[in-house]
Point group: C2
């Protein structure tokens, strides 16, 4: 059972929770993968509700999302630390992370990308705009803390086309 | 009197309200200006609370923010439609919009940019990263609806260094 909610209704919960970990799920070419994210934002852009995620170029998720028009974000409303730790440390290039972490996929309601069942809160998003980071425009302290290895993020701004709670 | 709040506490209110208009205030070279915005996002990036705003290159605010390291966003928690309409239709190049709209500036608590007194809710932000839009990465429908004239936005991601309510 899922319950549709307004995209902004749980934004405060999302911001509190995402720092501790959430699941960014993508698929392309018949393969799905999820990764743990700790960053993201919710807003209004182009008059539309938008979820923004950031993905480093080294990630397997980057390969998938670059060949997709959608992504989903699943926010754990209860303790899923073991699964988050696995999905934040292993690459989907090397294993089926869903099986390894005991995660159950549910089909997306509005997009072809699945969500992580049982998380509690899901955002399905269609990519409207993406932007690879330009190091020249970045605060030097952030540069030093987050990008010593030159592995920059790409921003993906996705229109929220479905937002709902599950059991 | 102001009351400090957690940056995410009023995020749902911000998202509901910003579509109807909020004030983006900037200053540089001894001049301040405010403009009405209808878009923006709140999130966590680089492990920090971040408010993202978008400014078109044609705007006077663009001249100022490009020469500044900070901005503020003031969210009207009550009816300020007349002031929002003026600040969304007139340019600070031609007039003192604060005087014309009857807006009272309050000094920023943590940044050198003022906030709009009496709005009810304020975010003071230090710019961490900015990114001029790349039309090649934009959804064609958005391109057509928002940028027929080629007047693209620049994204400004600001660390939220103060967030508070006023009377």
């Amino acid at each position: 059972m899922t319950k549709e909610i307004a995209y902004q209704e749980y934004s405060s919960t999302v911001l509190e929770t995402i720092s501790k970990g959430a699941f960014l799920t993508t698929n392309a070419g018949g393969r799905s993968n999820t990764m743990t994210i700790g960053w993201g934002s919710i807003g209004v852009m182009w008059g539309l509700p938008v979820f923004t995620v950031l993905v480093r170029k080294s990630r397997y998720t980057y390969e998938l999302i670059e060949n997709s028009s959608a992504f989903t974000v699943s926010i754990p409303l209860h303790d899923m630390q073991a699964a988050l730790a696995l999905c934040g440390s292993k690459s989907g290039r090397d294993m089926d992370k869903f099986a390894a972490a005991g995660l159950k996929l549910q089909p997306g309601q509005k997009v072809s990308v699945p969500v992580i069942g049982g998380c509690g809160l899901h955002y399905e998003c269609e990519i409207l705009y993406k932007s690879a980071m330009d190091p020249a425009q970045l605060d030097p302290a952030i540069q030093k803390n987050a990008y010593k290895d030159g592995d920059y993020h790409t921003f993906y701004h996705g229109k929220i086309v479905a937002c709902y709670l599950d059991d």
